[in-house]
Symmetry: C2
Subunit: 189 residues, 2 copies
DNA sequence: CCACCATACTCAATAATCTGACTAATCAGA
DNA sequence: TCTGATTAGTCAGATTATTGAGTATGGTGG
């Protein structure tokens, strides 16, 4: 049941349409949750019926009419309840890790390729997140912003994303390096 | 469809029963995939029907009879196919991140509590993983083991788990610290 | 001796997520 | 001018994952 809360949390900052929300929850960006458009539209409908968000139609002359949503008091109360409850631990579920687990029984070339790719992807997200941080804190330095900024939630989750992607990148590079060295050693013998 | 491959990868090292597998895929331990017992029993049944694993009953005098499974050649071929295919990126889906995203609209005390808890959990996993590494490489030092060890897949995923949990722990601590400082600053004003 | 935990599983039902296709309009580039 | 990308959604269906309960036996702590 956390998708609904993720949607509520995303709508705290700005009014958003389903489409904009879908962009935010997409692969490249999602720094605190991931979901597909279909899920989001369904969840928005449910949340509106439950009175936790309110939508208003915005007619655009050049683009299709969109529906912007904002969180209601009931929605905020729901988020509050959610926050009080214990968090369920987050678990790993990663194709690439499964492949590495099987590394000794499986073609090394493909593994190295995919590790390199993943490392590059992580680096790209790091660059993006870095820019995002700058945009959020503006002129202020990080220490100052975190102490006195008015809205630090997204900044903190972005920092989380950075920590995660750094770990990801470094592990991928290290692992690729190990596999390459073994390949080279095997080739020499 | 990666659960089946995770099961295959887990069975590469040792013959395991569904119950043992369930232990390994449990929260506390799972360092490359997570799943519940029911899923695993179901997957084992499917894999056996598909000829990718073979089970044999082991009668025990003091415990219920168990069924141990090992990977067949067909299973290995399936893993090989899986490895060749591109990995789907892994995404974040974490209750705690959602709560932090909403940090400015929600009770800070609960957040700090949950961050501290999560940090302690991450540290516990780090200790566990550290011991696991030692047990896997035995007397050898890491560099040597990674270059010449015969089975390094599980070692590499364990290193992945360590990187992940370190990031997790550090971010939780940092975030809790920030929230505490803000709480203190607000109390003074 | 009795409650509880560990081993070793099974079954059913619901909830969450993903795959894939479809509508319909505008805009930018070759 | 035709193609493809972008905006803004909707629908059906399949697959995965979670929740909750139940079976049966043996060992352990109080």
């Amino acid at each position: 049941m956390a998708l609904r809360h993720a949607v509520l949390a995303a709508l705290l900052d700005h009014e958003l349409s389903g489409y904009q929300l879908a962009k935010a929850f997409d692969l490249g960006v999602a720094n605190f949750w991931h979901a597909l458009p279909q899920q989001l539209y369904a969840e928005l409908a449910k949340l509106e019926k439950a009175g936790m968000i309110e939508g208003r139609d915005v007619v655009q002359d050049t683009r299709p009419t969109k529906r912007l949503f904002r969180v209601t008091d009931a929605g905020l109360a729901e988020l509050e309840r959610f926050t009080e409850a214990a968090s369920k631990p987050s678990f790993l579920r990663d194709d690439l890790l499964v492949k590495i687990q099987a590394a000794d029984h499986v073609d090394t070339g493909h593994l190295i390729e995919q590790l390199t790719e993943r490392a590059a992807f992580a680096q790209a997200k790091l660059d993006l997140f870095g820019q995002l941080l700058l945009r959020m804190r503006g002129e202020r330095d990080e220490e100052e912003f975190l102490l006195h900024g008015e809205r630090i939630g997204p900044y903190l989750t972005c920092l989380g994303g950075i920590t995660y992607e750094q770990g990801n990148r470094d592990w991928c590079r290290r692992t690729a390096e190990v596999l390459e060295q073994r390949q080279a050693a095997r080739a020499r013998s």
